[in-house]
């Protein structure tokens, strides 16, 4: 609301103060002074406010397109992984046996970040719903904070590992457990075809036999160990591998290709990757072109993936919440993921890459 100004208010107040009718020594007069000073406030011009908001909105869209949005990307990953296995062969679908997916490897795939925005514009930012219906079988519930990693291990039933090396200043801040969860997806071929059409992807077929197929995904309990210092933070995450029950005989390469194309992966790359990756054991990690870097690493002799999301706007928010490494900003953070046996690990935080890797290597 625009506060209307009374003519002569300021002059009268100062006059009253100067004439001794309002002394500045008592509580009441101090309140009057504050009221007086606020008289100079204005609401911003509405046209200016609207113009600026529009410009900021473009940042929000551009940010969504150019910046790695891992929450979304991860959800897409899961959806892609799940969707990859929805296609049964007619003959095999009669069989009772189900294939299982377990994470053993990670594969990064670069995708077109503008597609992310397009999917958002299409109200498709719940990627699971791109492919069909989702039914929650088991809710994880609220996170449970525990005193120590050992206590977490006792609850989850695994020997929780911890890093023996931490970057300077980092200390264990909090340990918590996220409960197990399970969801069931039912594929909808019509919806998927419609989405492909909207995205003008016309060189791929969605088999009718996909319709109505069910995939179950179970996520076990997850242990988080959070390490913080004044400005830096890292979290070690560990869990048993999530499990995906797959209809037998699924044409995984074909479905992988569909999933990657929806993500905006280049057609040639999607075709090549779909045929070279073992989709029973590989978790796809979408990384936007030009916004993040990634590379394969080895942790304890197991293959892993390091993804670094970087931004280059050093003038912004000087000194807040980011660190620098030879001019490179690591404000958005990095993540390294790897597997060991049945376990999946990840260390993430706003650390330099070598610190993150060293911390990961020290997890025993």
């Amino acid at each position: 609301m625009v506060e209307r100004h009374r003519a002569g208010t300021i002059a009268r107040m100062f006059h009253e103060m100067n004439s001794g009718r309002i002394g500045v020594q008592d509580e009441r007069s101090f309140t009057m002074d504050e009221h007086l000073m606020h008289e100079l406030r204005r609401d911003p011009d509405p046209e200016f406010a609207v113009r600026l908001r529009e410009r900021l909105r473009r940042h929000e869209h551009a940010g969504a397109a150019l910046r790695w949005r891992p929450a979304f990307a991860a959800a897409v990953t899961v959806a892609v992984v799940a969707s990859l296995f929805m296609f049964p062969s007619v003959r095999a679908s009669a069989q009772a046996m189900l294939d299982m997916f377990r994470v053993r490897n990670f594969a990064a795939v670069e995708f077109d970040p503008e597609r992310t925005q397009k999917l958002r514009d299409l109200k498709q930012d719940n990627p699971v719903l791109m492919f069909g219906r989702q039914e929650v079988i088991e809710k994880p519930g609220d996170p449970q904070t525990v005193a120590t990693p050992e206590a977490a291990g006792a609850i989850v039933g695994i020997d929780v590992r911890s890093p023996s090396e931490l970057p300077d200043g980092l200390a264990l801040q909090k340990v918590w457990i996220e409960g197990a969860g399970a969801v069931r997806f039912t594929a909808d071929a019509v919806r998927l075809r419609s989405l492909l059409e909207t995205l003008e992807i016309r060189d791929l077929d969605v088999p009718q036999s996909l319709d109505g197929q069910v995939v179950s995904v179970r996520k076990p309990q997850v242990v988080y160990q959070e390490y913080t210092s004044e400005k830096r933070h890292a979290v070690l995450i560990q869990a048993k591998s999530p499990e995906v029950s797959l209809p037998p005989g699924a044409d995984l390469p074909q479905l992988a290709e569909i999933g990657m194309r929806i993500l905006g992966v280049d057609a040639t790359q999607a075709r090549r990757l779909s045929r070279s990756v073992d989709w029973h054991t590989t978790l796809l990690v979408p990384v936007p072109v030009n916004a993040s870097s990634f590379r394969g690493v080895e942790i304890h002799g197991s293959p892993g993936l390091l993804v670094t999301s970087s931004s280059k706007d050093p003038g912004a928010a000087r000194g807040e919440n980011h660190t620098r490494d030879k001019g490179r900003t690591h404000g958005d953070g990095s993540i390294v993921m790897w597997t060991e046996g049945e376990r999946v690990f990840a260390v993430a935080g706003n650390l330099r890459d070598f610190e993150l890797l060293r911390m990961a290597e020290s997890v025993r």
Binding site: R6, L40, R42, A71, A316, N321
Partner: protein, 172 residues
């Protein structure tokens, strides 16, 4: 899923209601600059710069480190410093740019004169005092919040503001 949680932590910027934040914070930042640098057009420019920087860096904002308004005003303070580095003179606080209802032309003229007069007094304040006035009366921050933002003690903030307002009254 695992990585949703992970991502939330790493990037520490869960989606906020940007419309609500903008509506809430715009007047605070704009009025900070009105008190800090004066002129309405310059205040608009610096407000724009502040918000654009904040929005570009919004994924770095960590809720656990402080209020969004504090983070935004930290950026605003830096923007003001940059402005003064480039423009050593201070802009006068502009006169009323809207017509209050129910006032006679004489009353309007009197009020316009009051605003200009106080603006001139603000221009004469030292940098630190003017910034505290801007944070207190422009952004409507509490003394405690100003203390956290500036590194001064809360009692020091209160004392400086009290003396500053006294000085303005004396100068009137």
């Amino acid at each position: 899923m695992v990585f949703n949680r992970l991502a939330t932590f790493v990037f520490a910027a869960t989606e906020a209601d940007w419309d609500a934040l903008y509506a809430e914070q715009l007047p605070r930042v704009y009025n900070f600059f009105r008190y800090r640098v004066g002129d309405g057009a310059v205040a608009e420019d610096l407000t724009s710069i502040t918000f654009e920087k904040a929005w570009q860096a919004r994924n770095r904002y960590r809720r656990d480190l402080g209020a969004f308004s504090t983070w935004l005003l930290t950026i605003a303070r830096n923007v003001a410093v940059d402005h003064y580095r480039k423009h050593r003179h201070h802009e006068p606080l502009d006169a009323l740019d809207e017509v209050p209802g129910g006032q006679t032309p004489e009353e309007l003229a009197e009020h316009r004169s009051d605003v200009e007069r106080l603006g001139r007094l603000l221009e004469q304040l030292p940098e630190r005092e003017r910034e505290l006035v801007a944070l207190k009366y422009g952004s409507e921050m509490t003394n405690r919040a100003i203390a956290r933002l500036t590194g001064l003690s809360e009692s020091n903030v209160g004392t400086i503001l009290y003396r500053t307002v006294q000085g303005l009254r004396d100068g009137w």
